[in-house]
């Protein structure tokens, strides 16, 4: 029983971690917490649903089209809503991203209605294996583990070895110095938003396949993912994935004992982590200069 809980916790934790990576990519480059992250991913998942339902295309084509749409959506949100803001305050940035959230949620429920829909991936939650007695693993969980692993590996290579990845790290460390070095920081921001929206959409598709698809289905996963990101430290990508796994485990074990209070575990963890160790488990402490 406990083994089964751990496997399920790790699977959902990988999903949280994947989505938390999307949050962190934006935070790392532009120091904005994107409250619209969940809704950007929700909207793209609805696009995938629309393509799959109304046009008879193979899943892989729909998947690629959706990823392209997600990247464009991320770039569009950055270009239209964040770039025109001149020297915005932190509250201003929060209000802008919340505004994007409300806008996308309203558009999605206007277009597709607010009722729940079924969304399925080729890796079903129902087809299961039993590698060890008592431990059941579904296709869905295997796909989540593989996707998360591949994406983290790709991101590691990207941030370590490519010019664009290094430019993104430079922008995060010091925006003005990066500009002097000839990096077009605006383009780097737009790219970060596109990349983050793309990764968020992949995670959202897994969430939708596990539950159902409706305009507010990403609200709770976003908050869990944010808790995972805080746990991991908001700056290190492997740390965030580990944070997601820890959160998934705690939540699943806790939810087994007190199923009623499962939804609030994440917030208790957020508050505890922020109070005890504000910089997260895997990142250096950042002190503000006066």
């Amino acid at each position: 029983m406990i083994g089964q809980l751990i496997v399920e916790g790790l699977a959902i934790g990988a999903c949280y971690g994947l989505f938390a990576i999307a949050v962190v990519i934006i935070y790392k480059t532009s120091e904005v917490i994107n409250f619209g992250q969940g809704e950007m991913a929700m909207f793209s998942t609805f696009v995938a649903y629309h393509i799959l339902t109304y046009y008879a295309v193979p899943f892989w084509l729909a998947f690629l089209l959706t990823l392209g749409f997600a990247a464009l959506l991320g770039v569009a949100v950055e270009y239209l809503f964040l770039r025109p803001a001149k020297n915005p305050s932190i509250l201003g940035l929060i209000v802008i991203t919340l505004g994007a959230e409300m806008l996308l949620m309203g558009l999605a429920s206007w277009k597709w209605g607010a009722e729940q829909k079924a969304f399925s991936l080729p890796w079903s939650y129902a087809s299961i294996y039993e590698p060890f007695p008592g431990i059941i693993v579904s296709d869905w969980a295997i796909a989540v583990f593989l996707t998360a692993g591949v994406i983290v590996a790709l991101l590691y290579v990207f941030f370590r070895y490519t010019r664009l990845g290094i430019a993104m790290r430079a922008t995060q460390q010091n925006q003005n110095a990066a500009k002097i070095m000839g990096i077009r920081t605006e383009r780097v921001f737009a790219f970060a938003w596109g990349l983050s929206s793309l990764i968020g959409t992949v995670a959202a598709m897994f969430f939708a396949a596990r539950a159902t698809l409706d305009p507010s289905f990403m609200m709770e996963p976003f908050l869990r993912a944010f808790a995972a990101a805080v746990l991991g430290g908001l700056t290190s990508i492997p740390g965030v994935l580990i944070g997601g796994e820890i959160l998934g485990l705690i939540e699943n074990l806790f939810g087994y004992m007190w199923p009623q209070w499962k939804p609030i575990v994440a917030f208790v963890i957020i508050v505890l982590v922020l109070c005890v160790r504000p910089s997260g488990l895997f990142s250096r402490h950042f002190t503000k200069k006066v």
């Binding site: 904005v32 917490i33 809503f81 025109p84 803001a85 915005p88 305050s89 932190i90 509250l91 201003g92 929060i94 209000v95 802008i96 919340l98 505004g99 994007a100 959230e101 409300m102 806008l103 996308l104 949620m105 309203g106 558009l107 429920s109 206007w110 277009k111 597709w112 209605g113 607010a114 305009p215 609200m219 908050l223 944010f226 805080v230 009623q260 209070w261 939804p263 609030i264 994440a266 917030f267 208790v268 957020i270 508050v271 922020l274 109070c275 504000p278 006066v290």
Partner: protein, 356 residues
Amino acid sequence: MDMKRDYYEDIRLFGSGVILFWSLVLLAFLYTLPLYLPSYRFYLLNLILVHVILAVGLNVLVGYTGQISLGHAGFFAIGAYATTLLMTRLEVPFFPALLAAAFIAAAFGFLVGLPALRLEGPYLSIATLGFGLTITHIIGHMQIFGGRTGIQAPPLDLGIPQLGWSFILETDQGKYYLILTITVLMVLGAINLMKTRVGRSFVAIRDSDIAAEVMGVNLMVYKTLSFAVSAFYAGIAGGLFGFILGFFNPEPFNLILSIVFLVMVVVGGLGSTFGSIAGAVLITWLQFDLLKNIAETPLVGPLLLDISNRWFTVVGLENFNSIILGLVMISIVLFEPLGMFGVWIRVKKYWRTWPF
């Protein structure tokens, strides 16, 4: 212009005789409003007044102290449930129950303010957001709070029923007079508060908390106090809100409501009580009246229905208000960061020197 020559001028409640005169005219108009307005509009007016109380309180926290809260729907819910439960279970008369509920909300505000000592910006917003969701989750899962089905607010009795002296407000107009009186008192209280030592400490914390601490402002006391004051206002507003709805469940106190509250303050203009009032009136009217019934509006309604039929869904049109709200939020930050108060200042400046 608005030059202050001595300290007394700075702490006066009304800046000039002109402002005092027009405030009194406005009050007289508001108190005689039932003479001119059809009675079905008073539900909306009550809602607006309750939101004015809450927005003024939230402005103390967000606009003056510079702390962010996305959990005010939680304090609002605490006020509503505490008032109703105190009146039905413990049979406390209305006014003590409302005050007690507000103090309970303030105690929770103090608790939420404690993590705020170490957090700022986005972290604080997430922590408060978690608080709001946790409160509604707890209310939804405890039988004493009526669970998901909800509870019935008692009749709004201003007297003390145990002494055989009762004065029950039944109509929306009756409630309107009560809520209007409380709103005026709360708004005056907020304006007054900002002219005291406490208010100036809040502003100092907003401008630079380190500098404020160096100047001798006790951050621990004043940050938590700001949360408590703001939650107190939300508690009063929530207590009145319960009576407007009559029967309520945790559903309306969701995250969207917290966002709407924040939008009221931002749209009205941060750090301006007048702005918060204007923002609360505008956003409440948009969200809960005009855009809710957008399909029945002449001219725009049929056009939107046509668009819905062709490209969208007609059932989804009721979510049109969140599209407009999102656009309002984004454009206010991009084009008018000072909100409606900023527009007012600019108009005033322009006409003061007109025609030059």
